[in-house]
Structures are given as C-alpha cells and as structure tokens.
Amino acid sequence: MTLLFFLAAGWIFLAGVYGMVTSRNIIRTVGCLAVAQSSTYVLLLAVGFRRGGTSPYFTDTSTRTPVVDPVVQALALTDVVVGATVTALLLALALQLRKRHGTVDPDALTGLRG
C-alpha cells in the first residue's frame, strides 16, 4: 500500500504533462507545469518520511526523539521557491504574449516554424 505514496508522484507528473500536451491556452500550460512540479515535492517528502518520526525541531540538546529527514525538507523548500519564481516569469511572458499576439491558443501561435 505504501508504494502508492511514491506512485502518486509519478501520476501527478504525468497528469501535468498531459495537461500541457492538450492545453489550448498558454496560461493553462504554465498552470499544468506547476502541477507537474508538485510531483517533486511529494516524492521528496515521501522519501524523507520516517515512521514515528516527528518534525525536526528540538527544544533542548538532551532529547533525541526520532525525527523525519530534514535534508529532503530543505530540498523541497528550495524547490518550492524555484517553482514559484519560474512560474511567475513564465506567466509574465504569457501575459505579454497575449497582449502582442492577441491569442492564448498555442495552435494560433505560428510565428516560429520550419
């Protein structure tokens, strides 16, 4: 059953890719990219989970209760920031593209071919 936690990451990634492949709206494409990215958070944190572990904060140095892996959390944190900033940049591009091209439909963006 616990295998499903990891498989969920793969499913979410594919769902995001599916959305991007079928998208008729560039803003939606960017949104689907954000969905695909959330798969990485799920995988990282699932990998770092420790049965019976608590969150990795300590109030004093004597108690050493088992805690979950702090490294993947730091990685996921970085990942969240990276994802948000890239999404913002891509949305800025999409916004300007809509203004200049008058469309958000990838089928109608024919400026670069061949």
Binding site: T29, L33, V47, Q96, L112
Partner: protein
C-alpha cells in the same frame, strides 16, 4: 587565498556584481555602470584564470561552509573540478565579458529607474553557468541549472514589443523547466537509494547495489534536464525558437556556452555517478548517445541548410554541433573528450562571432532574412569578411580551434566506428555551407536573387525591429571588433599548443571516475597517460575536405539550377515537425524520455 577558495568566488563575484549593478545602475550614468560591470566581469575572468593556472593537472576541491569530510562523510556541498569544468567556466566568463563589451549601446529600453537590470541579469547568467560547471553535487547542479534557465528565459523575451521573442522564451521556459523537474524526480530516487547528493558520494553508495529498474529510471530522468538544455534530438525543438529571437548578445551566450553546458552536464553526471561498477555499463551509454548525437547532428545540419533566417540558421548549426559534441563525449575515451573540449572552445568563438555580425546586420538593416538582405551587406565589407571566416571556421578550416577539435575527435571515432567520420564531415560541411551561402548572398550579392516560395512553413526573419535605436546609423565599433576578437580566440585555440596539451590532460581526468572520487575523499590517485591532441596530416586533410565540401555546397546552392524532387520530400516533413507548438514540444520531451528508457533497458 588558497586554490579551493577561488572556486566559490567564481560564482560569488558575479552574484555580488549583479546585486551591485541592480542597486546602483539607476543612480549612475550609463558609462559608469558599463565600466563597473566590465570590471566585475573581468574580475570573474581573472579569478578563473588563476584557478586554471593553479589547478594544473589536478583537481580543485572546495567544501563549502567548511563542511569537510568527517569519517568519510559530509553534510555540505562540494565544488570539485578539473580543467574541463574550470575551462568551461572560464569560457563562460570570457564570453560574458565579450558580450558586455559588444552590447555597450544595447538595452536602453527598460525604464530609466531600472538601468542596471540588463547587466545584472547577464552577471546572474554568468554565475548560474559557472555554478553548474563547477559543482560536484547533484541538487546544487539542479539549482544552478534553474538559475541559468530563469535568467535565460527573461533575457530571451527581452523584446516585449514583438510576439516572437515572447513565444520563443515561453517555449524555452516551459520545456526546460519541465525537464528540470524530471531531473529532480530522478535526484529524489537516487537520494532515496543512497542517502547522498554529491556526485562522488552517490557513486560510491551505488556500487553496493545491482543495476535495477530504479537505477535505470533515475539515470534517464536525471539526464533529461541536461539533455534538454543540450538540445539533443528529440529534445532540441525549443532551441531554434529561442535562439532565433533572443537579443543578439544573449544568443552569443546561449549558443556559445549554455547549450554546451547541457552536454557537459550529461557526460559529467554519467561518468561520475553512473559509470561505476553495478552502474550503467559504458557500452550502453556509448551506443545510446552516439546514436542520439548522430541524429542530432544530422537533423541540425539539414534544418540549418534550409533556413533563411540567419539567426535561426545559426541556431540549427548549434544543434548540429552539439550533436557532434555529444558523439565525442559518448565515445567515452580521453582522446575524444579532449577533441570535444577543443571543439567546444573553438566553436564558442566562431558561433558567438557569427551571431555578433548578424547583430550588426540587424542593427543596420532591421532584418536577418537571407533573401531580403540579398546584396545589401556590400556596404559592410568587414562584416562580410568576418562572416565568411566564421562560416569557414564552422566547416572546420585549419588552423581554427574547431578544426583541431574535430580532427582529434574524428581520430578517436575512427578507431571505433569509421562511419562516424562521414557524419562529422557532412554535418560540419553543411552548417558551414549554409553560413557561406548566406554570406555570399548577403555581403556579395552572389548568385541569382532568391525567390520566395511558400510550399513549406518557414520563419523568414524579415520585419524584425532593430535592437538598438539611436540617431547614428553607423555600426558601432564593438559590434565588429568583438566578433573579430572572438574569431581570433577561436584561432588561438587551434594554434596555441599549450591549450590542446592542457585540455588533453584534463580530458584524462574527466574520464577517470576513480580519480574524481578519490579527490573528493582526499585520497591520492595516479592518473594515466594523457592522450595526444595535436595536429596531424590526416586531421588537416579531413578539415580541408569539410571546407571544400562546404564551399561546393554553397556554390551549388547559389549557381546550380534548382532541383525539386527527392530531397524535398524528406525534408519538408522534418521541417513540419518544427511546428513552434508548445504542446508538440512537450509531447516530444516525454517521448524522448520514453525512448531513452526503452533503449537503455533493452541494452542492459
């Protein structure tokens, strides 16, 4: 200051420079900002030159934050590199300096209160590329991969008045980011198995497991990011769309070094992380990626030949060359690696110079369309000479660095699979020929006036807006001086024996996994003999053959009677695949991943 400290400084210097430039850019006159940024970029170059000299034939290792190994384990990030990675970082820094000099009249566009923004972005780009070249940690590589990506998307879309750059940048961003997230999934899988993030540390832990589905999937996923950045077919679709529309100085960086970093990353990660015992066997990597490289080289060459938009032509020529670089690295021998390193250095100078001259054309005539520029370049004779030289360098004219690198790589390929020679010669000849054809048409008005045919979709390159606007219509001096210097650099790579011997020694280290791991763990390890990387009569003959072929192709295109028929039926569908459609490209990305998974699995 120790050698190790120079490694993080190569990244910290441009980062601090970027913050400084953004901070004071709006408060200083333009000249002062430019001067300041030039000084920062030069400091970055100086740091890397010293690092190059001090590293010698060894490796520089720096444990960031002082988190050295204790009992063979560390919690920190390690920067570790030989002269291949340091050389790439140095190449980046030099190109950044050239670009800053080239673009001294560019980018007056953003509102005055943000005057320092463009140089700040260039310096951030510098830091991102240096970080990716120097790091020895998988997650850190992902972070710098994303840094150079994010900056590149913004720079590509710089001209917001024109929809094409915006579309190119958006495609670039979506495809590259998706690939990076794929890589991160792979990193997650590797972390779960090994509990490590450093290249060397993962490599050590992986030796304790057999090669199973997890290793295979992680291998393909981790490599997806670098391969997409490296524009390896079928991951290459974004590249022409982005490079054809980015501002010229940015193109110089994208084509000159960023794409090559992708291929470098893929080879480095394979060598250190996956090539150990119980890893992905060498013959698997060799067969898979030689095939991918050949496909890339041929697709790039054909598409390059069919372009009339000069920037798009140069972009496809980069695709073709990157394919050859991948072949060189996938041969997995020190000699082929040395050849590829030389080839990359020579190519960077030539390609950046060609983009530079194209920028001068764009500035002067507001077009990069080979057809509509017919004969108009006559008033720019210096540009014409530089463009022809650049084309000859791409084709591999001795003694350019491209010719030397190609000859060494060809020599290495020959002993393995002789048919690869034909690929190298044909691909370099075709890309050189396309540039020569365009040069003769544009700068000499040679051949018939080209006719516009509209049978296949194409991107013309007419109706571009000049990138800089000012009362003076003379081409600014740096826009021709910098390309000339870059070509001279490409020539120097071929002529200075020190460069080739030092890169040959570095190539021996690059292909030595055990030595790399030993360096990280602080053990000593004797390296083998460096390969020969020198001019040979055979290499010169092969170079001249490519050039002769290129000239013949170009002349045939200009003066021979046009023929329709067979070739067209093959090429038109290929051109139609380059649809500019984001959904298509995402589809190709996932298809490429699937093909790699199947191909590698089939060979295990």
């Amino acid at each position: 200051m120790s050698t190790a400290d120079l490694l993080p400084l190569a990244i910290a210097i441009p980062l601090i420079g970027a913050a400084f430039s953004a901070l004071v850019g709006s408060r200083l006159p333009r000249v002062a900002t430019d001067l300041l940024v030039t000084v920062w970029a030069a400091a970055g170059v100086a740091d890397l030159v010293v690092l190059w000299l001090r590293t010698g034939d060894g490796r520089a290792v720096s444990w960031l934050g002082g988190w050295r190994l204790r009992h063979g384990e560390s919690v920190g990030i390690v920067l570790v590199n030989d002269r291949i990675g340091i050389g790439l970082a140095l190449l980046t820094a030099v190109l950044v300096l050239a670009v800053i000099a080239y673009s001294w009249r560019y980018f007056d566009e953003p509102p005055a209160e943000h005057a320092g923004t463009f140089p700040a972005l260039i310096l951030l780009f510098d830091a991102g590329m240096c970080g990716f070249a120097l790091t020895g940690d998988l997650f850190n590589a992902f972070v710098f991969f994303e840094l150079m990506g994010a900056v590149a998307y913004a720079l590509t879309g710089f001209r917001i008045e024109d929809p094409r750059p915006l579309q190119g940048a958006l495609t670039f961003g979506v495809i590259n980011s998706l690939a990076a997230y794929g890589s991160l999934l792979g990193i997650g899988l590797l972390y779960a198995r090994t509990g490590e993030l450093g290249f060397a540390q993962i490599s050590q832990k992986l030796t304790g497991h057999r090669a199973d589905a997890l290793l295979l999937t992680a291998f393909v996923l981790v490599l997806t990011g670098p391969l997409v950045k490296g524009a390896v077919a079928p991951f290459h679709f974004w590249l022409p769309d982005a490079h054809a529309v980015a501002p010229t100085p940015v193109c110089m960086l994208l084509s000159g070094v960023m794409v090559e970093l992708g291929v470098y990353g893929a080879a480095r990660i394979y060598w250190i992380v996956f090539s150990g015992p119980h890893g992905i066997p060498q013959h698997v990597f060799h067969d898979t990626f030689v095939a991918a490289g050949v496909l890339t080289a041929l697709v790039g060459a054909v598409m390059c030949w069919k372009q009339r938009n000069l920037k798009r032509m140069l972009a496809f020529s980069t695709v073709s060359h990157v394919g050859m670089f991948l072949v060189g690295l996938a041969l997995l021998t020190p000699e082929a690696t040395a050849g590829t390193a030389l080839y990359v250095a020579g190519h960077a100078g030539a390609k950046a110079a060609l983009f530079g001259v194209t920028g001068a054309l764009l500035d002067r005539f507001g077009s990069v369309d080979e057809h509509s520029l017919y004969g108009r370049g006559r008033e720019l004779p210096v540009g014409g000479v530089l463009f022809v030289l650049g084309g000859l360098a791409l084709a591999g004219l001795p003694p350019f660095g491209t010719a030397l690198g190609k000859a060494v790589a060809e020599h290495a390929a020959q002993s393995h699979s002789p048919w690869l020679l034909a690929v190298f010669v044909l691909a370099s000849a075709a890309t050189g020929a396309a540039v020569l054809r365009a040069a003769l048409r544009v700068f000499a008005g040679a051949g018939r006036r080209p006719l516009d045919r509209h049978e296949v979709p194409e991107t013309t390159g007419g109706g571009e807006e000049p990138e800089i606007r000012g009362p003076s219509r003379r081409v600014p001096l740096p826009m021709l001086a910098v390309p000339a210097l870059l070509l001279a650099g490409s020539l120097a790579v071929g002529l200075l024996p020190a460069v080739s011997t030092q890169l040959a020694q570095a190539a021996r280290l690059f292909t030595d996994r055990v030595g790399y791991v030993a360096a990280v763990y602080g053990h000593s390890h004797a390296a083998g003999m460096p390969p020969a990387a020198d001019w040979t009569a055979e290499g010169i003959a092969l170079g001249l053959t490519s050039v002769a072929l290129a000239v013949a192709f170009a002349c045939a295109a200009l003066w021979a009677a046009p023929r329709g028929g067979g070739a067209h039926r093959v090429v038109a569908p290929l051109r139609r695949l380059h649809s500019g459609h984001m959904g298509d490209y995402v589809g190709w990305l996932i298809v490429g991943v699937a093909v790699l998974l199947v191909a590698v699995r089939a060979q295990l």
